[in-house]
């Protein structure tokens, strides 16, 4: 069923039918009702390609997912972020398009999506400290929003981010206040902007308390369970092992926990652990009582907000840049406690 057929059935012109369905004022109310009824009855839906051609809008938003070429791994927070965004898109009649691209050809992917007119805007995920994609998109003059920020970006751009620096500074200070001095940071990849900021927060807290950072207690890689486990095992073998560990993700924290258990250590008593909790729906940090003391910020909620901001940008391409900084909560669970007295 297309517009032409529908209008013939109704004995009206395509113009009138189109206007009736799109809510234009210059159509008789009785006609509109009649048209709407017929459309419903026949299950008519405008062909979105034709509509897009005519309007110049695709009503599609693109997400280009970087396949970290080295590791071929799917970022686990992706699922929940997208779930949040998808909800907002649906409310605003946008569809969501995905492209998986290796790190090296992401720029190309963006170009392709826009030049082919496939999308009206894109979400840039996982920005690095040096992030070439931001200037590419800026120069292309297309609507986009960054989930996260890039420290070395020169031009202004829309972003939404968690205050990673502050939350990790607070978490570190929390541990210091409990008497810990040997505090490890099991971080994400250093080239990622969020990881850099977390590290900065960690460093700042140590500095303010006059604790010299120990490079042995600082590690960064992609945040898998295996990595958390391996790193924790390594650190426990040090002559002067950490008494507290900050983990950049619940997933690597699970690996840390496994390492501790294998070594007969009890979390919260022998060693304290704080994790960053993105509130992944399949990996919740406990129910009523958190398993891990954690810096908490819902990545799903970030997805919702990011989508909103992007849609605003699409509707007002020349509005001044908007940014949004979310604060993470620090929730206390049973994985932290006073530093054990070493006599």
């Amino acid at each position: 069923m297309n517009l032409k057929q529908l209008s013939e059935i109704l004995g009206l012109s395509q113009t009138t039918v189109s206007r009736a369905l799109n809510g234009y004022p210059e159509v008789n109310e009785g006609t509109r009702i009649r048209v709407q009824a017929a459309a419903d009855k026949h299950g008519y839906r405008p062909n979105s390609r034709a509509k897009g051609l005519a309007t110049g809008r695709s009503m599609v938003i693109g997400h280009v997912i970087p396949t970290s070429s080295q590791h071929e791994m799917v970022n686990p927070i992706f699922g929940d972020f997208v779930a949040g965004a998808a909800r907002t898109y649906a409310e605003n009649n946008y569809d969501m398009m995905f492209t998986h691209a290796p790190d090296t050809s992401i720029e190309e992917s963006y170009r392709s999506l826009f030049n082919r007119g496939v999308v009206d805007g894109v979400v840039l995920q996982g920005p690095k400290v040096h992030e070439p994609r931001i200037s590419v998109l800026s120069r292309m003059g297309v609507p986009f929003i960054v989930h996260g920020r890039s420290t070395h970006a020169e031009e202004p751009y829309d972003w939404i981010d968690v205050n990673n620096q502050r939350s990790f500074e607070r978490a570190t200070r929390f541990l210091i206040d409990l008497g810990h001095k040997r505090i490890a940071l099991i971080n994400g990849l250093e080239e990622m902007d969020f990881a850099r900021r977390r590290r900065n927060g960690y460093m700042t807290a140590l500095e303010k308390s006059g604790i010299a950072p120990d490079p042995n207690l600082l590690r960064s890689a992609e945040m898998t369970e295996i990595y958390g486990h391996q790193t924790a095992c390594d650190m426990l073998k040090l002559s002067d092992p950490p008494t507290a560990i900050l983990a950049s993700s619940i997933i690597s924290a699970v690996g840390v926990r496994r390492a501790l258990e294998e070594n007969g250590l009890k979390m919260g008593r022998d060693i304290s652990v704080i994790a960053h909790d993105d509130e992944l729906s399949y990996m919740r940090n406990g129910m009523d009582v958190p398993i891990f003391t954690a810096t908490r910020s819902s990545v799903r909620h970030a997805g919702e907000l990011a989508a909103e901001m992007l849609i605003e940008r699409i509707n007002a391409p020349n509005a001044p840049p908007k940014t949004r900084l979310l604060e993470a909560e620090l929730v206390v669970g049973s994985s932290t406690g006073p530093a054990p007295q070493r006599t």
Copy 2:
């Protein structure tokens, strides 16, 4: 840059330029090279909406992701399945579209995608034992593939699935052979087809060995870490607790492990655990030595194959239905061992 502009620059008709770029034979080889060069130089890419309108194909494949309305959770295997599919799509010049829909309106989503001409085919994920979506899509006569199967589907359809029944039967038998008699199954939601088949496999193995199933040792819910933990805790409190546990996912198995540790039990010695391992990239089952003894089948690989099969179907709508049954490996890790002798 559109076709018209490009053809004006070249002093050729749109027809010729279009044919040159699409590899039609009736264009002079010299011309083709000249056209291709100009297209590259100007970064010309055909508008995909216009192209779609003209060809009647959208070159887009849709995934409708059910938001389990009750739980609002993102299925964790989703990310890896999609990563696999995306790769195949990219190779075949398909884009990938996502729609998030509550369980109740998924049918509506499919209709919308096809009627609006947004997609050429869809992937149906997470089929239930009774799966109305399959007959809906069959009746619509559109290309689709099911990841999994539906026991009570009447019409034939394309699917790709893991042999869940056999793999769980083998896993159960493996435990029985180790002397276990009290074997628990921490399963996915019972209405899901895969969960039903796993349960059947489990039951069959028990039956064949003359072990009476105990309803206290059978639980099903969405496979989160919390659920695995909670269920294991409950079961350990039984007067006659299990000596072995089958977990339907690595994620719930992690929860089981946490419960065991809290109770001072050592996995593999005091209690055996087998998990189903989808080889999620962020939750690998160990490196060289598996953490869990597991039934293993890569969901990413399934995604790749599913995409291939769907594209074949789109290209040959009337070919006979194709199905593909993958066998899971049974890999042995350190989470299993002989049943403890209770004297």
